[in-house]
């Protein structure tokens, strides 16, 4: 496996570090970032996606807006929903006051996934192999990380199962502090290392440091699953092509 991976250099991470504000919507940011990553890796297009659509529309199946949730259920919603739109069309407001907006899918760009899978739990080597292929959503126990500014975080950790959903976008080794996971957070670019955290990797506990290896999950997407044209626009195009062909035949 490569010694170092950084999907930001690979172009699979939206450069703007997003900010959840005082809303417990970390799960939505971890979900959109994971889908942005796999979509770029399979289609070459980096498209910034809508957390607010998840907050407003993915309700009750494990996710509860600003109260909390998990990216794993957001992936299931995105499959059921037939895709997720961009945050340009459905911008983030950071609260759950609005109802789910019925987005005009025919004219809107959206991204689809085929499902999700879970990395073998409590196995940092398998997690490393997964991250070498794509960004991976994880739960970490982050209650003690509010004033982290730089370096490789080695604790204290607030619990053993995780309370904050983030995205691993790479890994590496620091000469002074050893192996680390490179983690994208959703507390804005002023927090941590430009919005990112480096968390100790290859911890002697199988759970990983701060529960990072307890339940890593990633979206799956085959390169064939198109996602830039919605079905109805596709039909319109098909109709148009038939029209053209029939006109030329007449």
């Amino acid at each position: 496996l490569p010694d170092e991976v950084d999907w930001r250099e690979g172009g699979a991470v939206v450069p703007r570090v997003k900010k959840q504000g005082d809303c417990g919507s970390c799960w939505a940011f971890a979900a959109t970032a994971a889908v942005e990553g796999i979509n770029q890796i399979t289609t070459g297009e980096l498209i910034s996606l809508s957390e607010q659509e998840l907050i407003d529309c993915d309700r009750g199946n494990g996710n509860f807006g600003c109260v909390g949730g998990g990216a794993v259920w957001a992936f299931e919603f995105i499959v059921r929903n037939g895709g997720i739109v961009t945050d340009e069309v459905y911008p983030y407001v950071g609260n759950t006051s609005a109802a789910c907006k019925a987005i005009e899918m025919p004219t809107t760009r959206f991204v689809t996934i085929d499902g999700h899978e879970v990395v073998p739990e409590k196995d940092e080597m398998s997690l490393m192999k997964a991250v070498a292929h794509q960004p991976v959503s994880v739960m970490i126990s982050a209650a003690n990380m509010s004033d982290y500014t730089s370096g490789v975080y080695k604790g204290p950790c607030s619990n053993l199962w995780g309370d904050h959903n983030v995205l691993i976008v790479g890994y590496g080794t620091s000469s002074e502090e050893g192996d680390y996971w490179l983690i994208r957070n959703s507390w804005g670019p002023e927090w941590g290392e430009g919005g990112y955290l480096r968390l100790q990797r290859n911890f002697h506990e199988s759970t990983g440091k701060c529960a990072v290896a307890v339940a890593p999950v990633y979206p799956i997407k085959s390169s064939s699953s198109s996602n830039l044209l919605s079905p109805s626009v596709f039909k319109l195009l098909l109709l148009f092509v038939f029209k053209l062909v029939s006109l030329t035949l007449l």
Partner: protein, 99 residues
Amino acid sequence: TKSQRNEAEVQKMYEQWIVENGKNYNGLGEKERRFKVFKDNLKRIEEHNSDPNRSYERGLNQFSDLTADEFRANYLGGKMEGTSVSDVAERYRYMEGDI
């Protein structure tokens, strides 16, 4: 040492932090209450950063006037149910010698 900063100096840091982070407190006494929390957080930061063996730095930021409970209530939100990890896949299972 830094941790024996006098009150006036911490107060000055607090005023500067308020400007930098665009804070404005409405409730009566809210600013003073927040100052106490800010002082506790600053103390924790300086204690941590004074450890020569530390592997990371702590510092003042947008959360520095929040208690640990307030921070936890507003900015975490990850929920984990055992059921959600039922579909563990073999795709990325690491085998010795994997390239």
